[in-house]
Symmetry: D2
Subunit: 409 residues, 4 copies
């Protein structure tokens, strides 16, 4: 039996397959040889369910999508302070291969333009290009759960034509943003761009980012919380070349595209999605890919700023005991995150003096953040100081480990 | 009794009050007269609860924060097609008052730089500046639930010194992006920047945006869904001048700042927050404001890309009837949004042939999206086609109005 | 009888008449109505001889050529210090109507781009636009020896479409380079551009500049020496829009062109030349005009850096008196300018001790600079100190007024 | 006996020696070690007379001054068409080391900025860097009449720090303006900049350019006429970095400066002048050098657009024979260049019908251009056709080789 979701996504895929606009990238001879009709789409849930259509197992080179992971690995390796001194995080408003650095700081504007990406490549762990490329391949292998390799023909093609990137590298060297051999950094960058992936691979990478940095199938934590937040932020602001603003307004997801026709996008806590279709629009983004993501985002209301569901009142009921009017019961529901907790505490602080005892029932509560637990405990202490009691019913043991909370059994 | 949340925010406020860095804006004489020690912070929940500290009722001019609302009103008035032809949505990487337009399209890069904002002002409803200003004042009054007025001294000061904005307006006129009298458009812009607000007002505006466009206290819908999504996206990418990227990575919320020292930020579905403190950093953003928002975001984990709570398995239990092994029961929890529904459907499609009847219990489910309901109904039909049954227990009547779902009573 | 020079120039004119490339300027509706086949060429010698071909008496608007004269008049009125504080003299490498000022000084890069020209217009003598335009018309009338008027239709056309210039004016106002009403300055500029002239008029203007600032037919000094030097320098570096470098290398004359199809060029001390032909090349310079000037420059070797004639030895003969070997005679020729005088003095200082008397014969000398006279007198004094004598034969009385020179009669 | 010119120049030199402003270039460690008090000035006439003051024999590296000669040699080697396709001749208005090329053509703006200079270096004759450097050294040796060598320490210093130039070279390679190995081109460029010269050497180079491309002491033609014209034009427009416009207006001579403190300037047909003083102004030009050239230009009226001497009437006398009123005699003087010839022909064509015979006396004429001779011959033919005669008295045999001229003996 097929899931109707499967059918819906397939329909979107089929519609986009009919789009013939766009031009295959030609700046590298090997890229120009790409099949313009190739088309793949893969959705991967954070639980590891995958929905795959078309050419999801056709290998192509990762190109600029590698920038996301090289930046992440550089951050994991050197920490924010070191990396931030060398690479800024501002949208540039310029072409991805612009030869310009911040006039004052000399930093590349962000790690998604080539200048920033080459700098990030130079910060990969390892002694020299070989080790650095190996480190990145190992890192990427963790995301896809199988080894990845460099496409030597594309690498050779990049190396023989990548003079503008060499210009960028020497510019970076001239202002001491690159502190190692610029040709070595560019070499790492060329090889990193030439790593062979499939749309399915990219979907797994995206799903890992969606899943808080934990690879959905292996369960390994690959991206620390702070790095993940950083990486998704930079993708949201600068991931789609100079079409970043259109993407953010229309699709509304952190994403990254590459000139070989790949796009990877992240629905935090839900899905990683990847598409592959070589013909590009004027911004360098895959035409069929952009169309598919727009449809998916619209169909599923996945835009970051789409109000998704109606408001859920965290306090489902507040009832006064018939027998004991001094006792008030709160039946909660949903999540006790900041907003939910605020809502509960606001009402608790407003209880009239006649309320001597409050029972908070977490039976229908889904999740409780650590901070929410502490706030509830603090509220409980304040009730006590005030000569009143605040007890919780916690059948799911959501507050385990929080002291000073009186539990009703 | 004070809520501990109240105490926490006050502590953040107090810490930021001690910051003395930054310079009051001086480009308009009237702004230079601002009290550099003034400091206010106001948090407003989507339920209308407010937490206010310091100078939250001190009036100041809204300045660039008005750009958000003029753009929204222009969109509501003319629709996306008309406005998008005249104002792009790309981050600019340039100063807010840059005299540059897109080389190809001649459009201002986005509505948050002056060129885009003046264009938006020219698109406000009404015949001539007077009517346009009145329309905007009326619109803003809806957000704060009381009338707002223009500060005539600041307006006069803007008008007597705003030559660069006049230059921008004539540049826009020269490329037919402005199609009306440039001096009229600039006049509207100067007056819109001179509207007097308080931090409390701004918090209400932000809370309205957080609340899906519905004013929390009046319940009026002020921003339509598509415009809201657009406005929040543009704020996320371009709201904080040329510090937008830093804000997005560090604070991670759609926001807008003004040179008079105001900042407004939106936690979708949760809070609107506003601060007021005149001294600005090198990007033109309030120093104490930025510090406060960074602390709030960190303390409450409010960053857009902060994984907030652990994963909630939508399928809480799957149990086989002891008496009837052909009957399987699914106890769901949390929200049936896209991801939750996908998770359920995935398992339903994987039921072995021996499962002849599935009962899905929505008793502990919080919310169900319209789309989720339809997917469940479709799944139900497919079960039927397959000669099996899928029934729901829906005590909260979450699926009301969805046909083809068999409800167990 | 016709001069063969007349025939030569006519031949060049006829050849250029056949050129049909180029597009008439369309940015002002009135300009677009120009006759694309109109063609005139006028050469005017510093002695007032004129060679005129084709449409030399057809009126057209002076456009950017006016910038030269407004700048000159501003310099004559306010002096270098005041004007140089507001307008720089560097080639810009940018389009003539660029909205950019020097990042550090905020000055327009030079008076030939619109920003600099509008600033110069604001510095014309007079109280308000009316008086300023009148002052410029009076000034220009001196060059052509008849009154000039503003073409009201072109002026109206400029005024109704010149929004970019208004943008420039407000930009200048915003940085205090314009210190008066920007709209007034632009109005003067629009009218100055709309002054009606003919190719013959322009040739007279050019001839005045060629003739050391003295109008060839009236003999009136219209441009002081320092202003003339400045104006010709700026024309040489910046007079031909962004084709200035090509012009300088290929034609090699100070010149200025206008979008109505006029070009004016100066052969210092020799000729003023002007052409009129509306179709423009991609740099905004008249196609037939550029072609004619290239041919003229090549044919007559008029390029500033064309070595024109072979070397003339200032000392034609040095002879020792047969009767008196202690007496040496120098027969000079050509001009005693710096180089000629240096050559003579070099030899005089090298005379052997046996030379007791030198006679310098200026009979065949053409001109003697004041400085050369002084140097000769000083040399004479030194000879005296050395116990030798230096006498001059000066039948043309070229050294009149120079003391300490012993003249042989 | 000292020439008063010698004293005058020494006085200017001494005054400039007292200037202490400016900073020695530090971007290459070896340059930073320069003696800031070093000061030399050398004037060399086209006849080979030299006036030398201070450190005229102290070696330093030629730096950017080499650009002039590499460009000249590239032009001599490949011709204009080939070179012009790769290097434009427009002033750039940008810093000398800007990483920008023309947006449309991708060419460097001119050969005096690094991008253009590196391109010119790549066009030097020879197979590979060694041969190319040797070719340039040989070429330069011709100008100074002794071998020149590369300063290996400065070269090593350039090579170890010249990353920005490498960036430029790869940028040029990426757009196919450089068609050879960018690293080889940059290597040639570094070595060319490191050629050791003295101020005396530079003065000889300048004097060669002043002398129509003929080395004054050896008499060898080193620069062809068209290349010389081109090179002087480019120096006039772009030779002094971003201070080119100020130099052109204030000094008014084709010139080139280098960051090691050298400046070379050309007074066509008169002098080559060179100075050496390491401290630089904000444009990168030697402070004492600029001051000296300004004083020299002002003192000697050497500005290109300084009207130097009063007008010389080419027709000194027109007299009618007392005995034969049908015979008119013209006594000419000065040069028969274009203007002089035009003046004579104008009068000849205006002779009344009663004039049957004209005798043109060239006895006091200095020089006659080839073209002037032809025009006179043509005029003579026209007289003949008209039944009149035109004879010349040509005691200096200035018209030798011109047919159809009747000579009176």
């Amino acid at each position: 039996m097929r899931s109707p979701i499967d059918d819906e996504i397939r329909q979107i895929f089929d519609q986009c397959s009919g789009i013939v606009e766009g031009e295959v990238a030609t700046y590298i001879p090997e890229l120009a040889a790409a099949d313009p009709t190739a088309h793949g789409l893969c959705v991967m849930s954070v639980e590891g369910h995958s929905y795959a259509y078309g050419a999801v197992d056709v290998p192509f080179t990762v190109q600029s999508i590698s920038k996301v992971f090289a930046y992440a690995l550089a951050l994991e390796t050197h920490g924010f302070e070191t990396v931030d001194e060398l690479i800024d995080v501002e949208p540039s408003g310029e072409a991805f291969n612009e030869l310009s650095l911040d006039a004052r700081t000399h930093r590349p504007r962000n790690p998604m333009i080539n200048a920033g990406a080459i700098t990030a490549s130079s910060l990969l762990p390892g002694d020299g290009p070989e080790q650095q490329v190996t480190a990145l391949l190992d890192y990427l292998a963790g995301f896809v759960d199988h080894p990845l390799t460099v496409d030597d023909r594309v690498y050779a093609s990049e190396a023989s034509t990548g003079h503008r990137n060499r210009a960028i590298a020497y510019l970076l060297r001239s202002v001491d943003v690159l502190r190692t051999d610029p040709m070595a950094a560019v070499d790492v960058y060329f090889r990193q761009c030439s790593v062979q992936v499939t749309a399915r691979d990219l979907a797994l990478m995206a799903a890992t980012l969606a899943n808080g940095g934990v690879q959905p199938t292996t369960g390994k934590l690959l991206v620390s919380r702070a790095v993940l937040r950083r990486v998704l932020s930079v993708m949201a602001g600068c991931g789609m070349y100079d079409g970043a603003g259109h993407w953010l307004t229309e699709v509304g997801l952190p994403a990254k595209s590459g000139v070989s026709g790949g796009i990877l996008a992240v629905l935090p806590s839900q899905f990683g999605v990847a598409s592959f279709a070589p013909p590009l629009n004027e911004h360098g983004n895959s035409v069929r890919g952009v169309a598919a993501f727009r449809s998916l985002s619209e169909h599923y209301g996945s835009h970051l700023f789409e109000p998704r569901l109606g408001r859920l009142h965290t306090v489902r009921h507040r009832t006064t005991d018939v027998d004991d009017p001094g006792t008030v019961r709160y039946a909660l529901q949903g999540d006790l995150d900041v907003a939910g907790t605020e809502s509960v505490l606001w009402q608790l602080t407003s209880e009239p003096p006649s309320t001597r005892r409050v029972v908070v029932d977490l039976g229908a509560t889904d999740r409780v953040s650590a901070h929410a637990g502490e706030l509830l405990a603090e509220m409980s202490r304040r009730y006590l100081v005030d000569g009143r009691t605040l007890e919780v019913v916690d059948p799911q043991e959501l507050l385990t480990g929080i002291p000073d909370v009186t539990r009703l059994t």
